[in-house]
């Protein structure tokens, strides 16, 4: 709860204080609130401090933050802070962009904590609506307009489908509270038959969420939208939406756990399809941004495997995976943003990275992490996921390993230009806040390596 309060407050303050000023002047304030939220929520998740007395007025059947949810809120705020720190601001835009980002983050946290279908829907909307605007925030970019339009239409449809599913679920169970739905379902499980309305409901709600997390075959919007949106917004969509989406999704599926074996029938093929399609189509991409978009689709496939494993024992695995995915993706998006500033969109942009040792190290480490090579957190996450999913469906794990093998072929493409065909050139890319960026980048690398070598830390955190 403290996360929602702080980030929302930060958003409102930025909006009011930053009015008529450029974005970069109010950036520190939003960052500060997000960092505070990350630290406080993290501390609360570990039980070091307790804010629950301040938020007793929140009805627990609507929003509850268990320690695991609090740590997810913490990493969500951290990712928000990290994105705002690494990906640069422009003086052209106003503080409204930051306010919207903070509001979207609030929505993400609401999704994470929701215990009620209406709350889940509200979170989904609070997350999506600012993003529709942000996608088109570069008003004179025609692709940005296209992206915003596409995202809005797709998002509106998927939300409508989600709502229809929620209505069916209400029809089938007579309640919107997740815990009560689960109780109804376990009654039905005794009779061996589930109400058709509930089956239809969970399918439709899942379709709505699958749209959001861009799983195949509901992924077609995402490469286009990522490509058109400003880089920072694309990063936000790739990381925050996916983290919040999957935590909410796993909560929803956990609610329907009495019909788990029936659900697995279509989650497993969907997961395999997403992993294979994401990885194979990524091979054919020419631009870095689209490759990253397909990489995030393939990661949605791996994350879908979390829906088939029993959640209680594997919460820390989900947390580790989301952390590793977010860190790697944000750093790669940052590098893509930095080196595409001169207009080069293909992988050749990395030819000049050689001059900057820190960027080069970040490229290597984040790529290895996201490809799941040992000694990075990415490997820990993938290994834990695969061994948890193995007992449920060994077939899905074999396909996931196959997908990992394919993914190396495109993840390693930048190395060709960074090492083998590197060019010496004047360090053309110089931006303000260079020092701060480097501090963030180095701490990100340290996170990836230390958590990869000493995985006990993440185990305790989540």
């Amino acid at each position: 709860m403290i996360g929602i309060a702080l980030v929302f407050l930060g958003g409102v303050l930025t909006l009011f204080l930053g009015i008529n000023k450029s974005e970069s002047k109010s950036l520190w304030m939003t960052r500060l609130f997000m960092l505070a939220s990350a630290i406080l929520a993290g501390a609360e998740s570990q039980g070091w401090i307790d804010f629950s007395t301040f938020f007793q007025w929140v009805p627990p059947q609507m929003l509850t933050f268990s320690p695991f949810k609090l740590s997810i809120v913490s990493i969500l705020s951290f990712f928000g802070f990290y994105i705002l720190s690494l990906l640069p601001s422009s003086d052209k835009k106003g503080a409204d962009v930051l306010g919207l980002t903070a509001f979207a983050l609030t929505g993400a946290m609401m999704m994470v904590g929701s215990q009620h279908l209406v709350m889940l829907f509200l979170g989904l909307e609070v997350l999506s609506i600012p993003l529709f605007v942000l996608a088109g925030s570069e008003k004179d970019n025609i692709y940005g307009n296209e992206a915003a339009m596409k995202y809005f239409l797709m998002g509106a449809f998927s939300t409508a489908i989600f709502l229809l599913g929620a209505a069916f679920t209400y029809g089938g169970s007579g309640t919107l509270i997740l815990a009560e739905i689960q109780m109804k379902l376990s009654f039905s499980a005794h009779f061996g038959e589930f109400p058709v309305l509930l089956k239809a409901g969970v399918i439709l709600m899942s379709v709505g969420l699958l749209f959001k997390v861009s799983a195949v075959p509901f992924h077609f919007w995402s490469p286009d939208v990522y490509e058109g949106s400003p880089n920072r917004v694309a990063t936000f969509m790739a990381v925050i939406v996916k983290v919040a989406g999957f935590v909410a999704f796993s909560q929803l599926i956990q609610t329907f756990s009495p019909m788990q074996s029936w659900l697995n029938q279509w989650i497993i093929p969907l997961s395999i399809l997403t992993i294979l399609a994401g990885n194979i189509v990524a091979l054919a991409q020419q631009t870095v941004k689209r490759t990253l978009a397909y990489s995030s689709i393939s990661h949605a496939g791996y994350l879908l495997l979390f829906l088939i494993v029993p959640m209680e024992e594997n919460m820390n695995v989900l947390g580790t995976y989301l952390l590793s995915y977010g860190l790697g993706t944000i750093i790669l998006f940052y590098l893509m943003d930095k080196y595409s500033a001169n207009g080069e969109k293909s992988f050749e942009m990395f030819k000049t990275i050689k001059n900057n040792k820190i960027d080069l190290a970040a490229l290597v480490i984040s790529t290895l992490s996201i490809a799941g090579v040992p000694s990075t957190i990415g490997f820990i996450a993938k290994y834990q996921l695969f061994s948890a999913a193995f007992s449920q469906s060994s077939m899905a794990v074999y396909f996931a390993l196959l997908g990992s093998a394919i993914s190396v072929a495109y993840y390693f493409k930048p190395f060709r230009y960074a090492f083998a065909e590197a060019q010496d050139s004047e360090s053309a890319v110089n931006k303000d806040g260079q020092f701060f960026n480097q501090v963030c980048l180095i701490s990100g690398m340290i996170f990836i390596l230390v958590l990869g070598l000493i995985p006990t830390i993440t185990e305790r955190f989540f």
Binding site: L368, S375, I380, F390, L401, A405
Partner: protein
């Protein structure tokens, strides 16, 4: 643990400090050799000495490192060759030295790991530096070669990971070597698990149809990269074969044995014949390596004591000899600017000492009696002959083939009258070759010194395999 930490520290030093001397690099490399020789006395721990043991990931994975006599042999190979390899690095190439030390850490970890997942972790950790070495320092654009190399081995490793996860799920979640060893497998489970492990090792060794990455990678990689790959990294695959595949999936040995034996014999002859037709000295060495390690793999798969003894001896000897060959090729290439046999000749007339060393290493590789190649090769051929006389006769051809291509190298490069320009060879370039040349003669004369390092651990390992399998010839 010092065998992981010292190389990583050395790697960091070379990555960040602008040191210009190769001697310091070799000195840093010698530290771990000295630690190995002084602190861990060879032969004193047949059951394995636990050097590090900490919980790592949940309850299922422990960070366990163990040194037994076989591990000691492999550690000795690594620590001995690393200083030699970094001593031969030219042009103040600090990055290459840094990567090489990082790779040393990975290799040491692979040999010491006593937990499935830790083994996998180091297995991949050893892969990353060599990938970047081949990518960064090769002679021409070879992104395709390196990515093929990486994907080949990565597919193999992922198959191994799948096998390990499967095996651990059967052993109740634990990855500890002892638990994996004690897991009873049905025949079909064993086939799947063994298949995954074998795929990883067969790609790395490489055994015949999985060798396609090898020749191009060796040829394009810088000389030191080829040395690391062929001298030490191949041994990871062979070591994995006896330490991880055979005891853990022993039920599947009966099924895979004829297949691997046939493939290995094909590889022995195939590698030898192709080597004869090559012009590039590095390619010849690559194919000769394919042929030699094929014989070692075949020896291990005969499952008799002479095969294991000869195989372990030959792992060490092959490491020394192939590094010696690449050192020779590197010196020739640095001085004559070519390594094609058709353009070389007449080295003997100008460099007497170099030619003598060249000849010693050539006959060592060709397994002439009283050189280091002979005892191991003899024991291996003996074991293969015991397994099946047809296999034995066919793989015996390797002696003839190897003599043909090795003497051809010597004849074309050292003898003859072709006029090539070669500058002086400095002492620092001579020293690694002298050391290797010395080992060729020393092991050739006293093979027993090496064979006495590992008898008790080998006996224990063979007992484990036979217990798991039921019968052992």
């Amino acid at each position: 643990m010092e065998f992981i930490i010292i190389p990583i520290l050395a790697s960091l030093i070379w990555a960040f400090l602008p040191i210009k001397s190769r001697w310091i690099a070799a000195g840093l490399g010698l530290i771990s050799l000295v630690v190995l020789l002084t602190k861990y006395n060879q032969g004193s721990f047949p059951d394995g000495l636990v050097v590090f043991d900490q919980p790592w990931l949940g309850e299922s994975v422990r960070f366990t490192l163990v040194i037994d006599q076989i591990t000691w042999l492999m550690l000795f190979l690594t620590q001995f060759l690393l200083p030699i390899i970094v001593l031969s690095v030219k042009n103040n190439n600090n990055k290459l030295i840094s990567w090489a030390f990082l790779m040393q850490a990975g290799l040491n970890g692979v040999f010491m790991a006593q937990d499935g997942l830790i083994f996998y972790l180091f297995w991949e950790l050893a892969m990353i530096p060599i990938y970047f070495i081949t990518l960064q320092f090769s002679e021409k654009d070879n992104f395709v070669t390196t990515i093929r190399f990486f994907i080949y081995t990565f597919v193999g490793s992922l198959a191994m990971l799948a096998s390990l996860i499967y095996l651990a799920s059967l052993s109740g979640g634990s990855f500890a070597y002892a638990d994996l060893l004690n897991t009873q497998l049905s025949h079909s489970q064993s086939l799947i698990i063994g298949g995954g492990l074998l795929l990883a090792f067969a790609v790395k060794i490489p055994i015949f149809p999985f060798h396609l990455w090898q020749a191009d990678t060796y040829t394009n990689a810088p000389a030191q990269g080829s040395m690391l790959l062929s001298g030490i990294m191949l041994k990871m695959g062979l070591y994995g074969l006896i330490r991880w595949y055979m005891p853990l999936a022993a039920e599947s040995i009966d099924f895979y044995q004829p297949i691997i034996m046939a493939l290995a014999v094909i590889g022995i002859i195939y590698g030898g014949i192709i080597a004869i037709r090559q012009d590039d000295m590095k390619r010849i060495t690559a194919y000769s390596s394919l042929s030699h390690v094929g014989l070692i793999a075949a020896g291990f798969f005969t499952l008799n004591s002479s095969g294991f003894n000869g195989g372990l001896l030959q792992m060490l000897v092959h490491g020394f000899n192939v590094v010696g060959m690449f050192l020779i090729i590197d010196v020739i290439q640095q001085n004559a600017k070519t390594r094609n046999l058709s353009e070389l000749g007449g080295i003997a007339a100008k460099f007497k000492v170099f030619t003598v060393l060249f000849f010693v290493i050539v006959i060592g590789t060709a397994a002439a009696p009283l050189t280091s190649g002979f005892p191991g090769e003899f024991m291996l051929l003996n074991s293969v002959f015991k397994y099946n006389s047809v296999h034995g006769i066919l793989s015996g051809l390797t002696i003839i083939l190897c003599a043909v291509y090795m003497l051809r190298i010597f004849q074309k490069a050292a003898l003859g009258s072709a006029e090539i320009e070669m500058s002086e060879i400095s002492f620092i370039d001579y020293l690694p070759i002298i050391i290797i040349g010395f080992t060729v003669l020393f092991i050739g004369l006293f093979p027993q010194v090496i064979l006495e390092i590992f008898p008790m651990s080998l006996e224990k390992l063979m007992l484990e395999i036979s217990n798991a399998k039921g019968v052992l010839s």
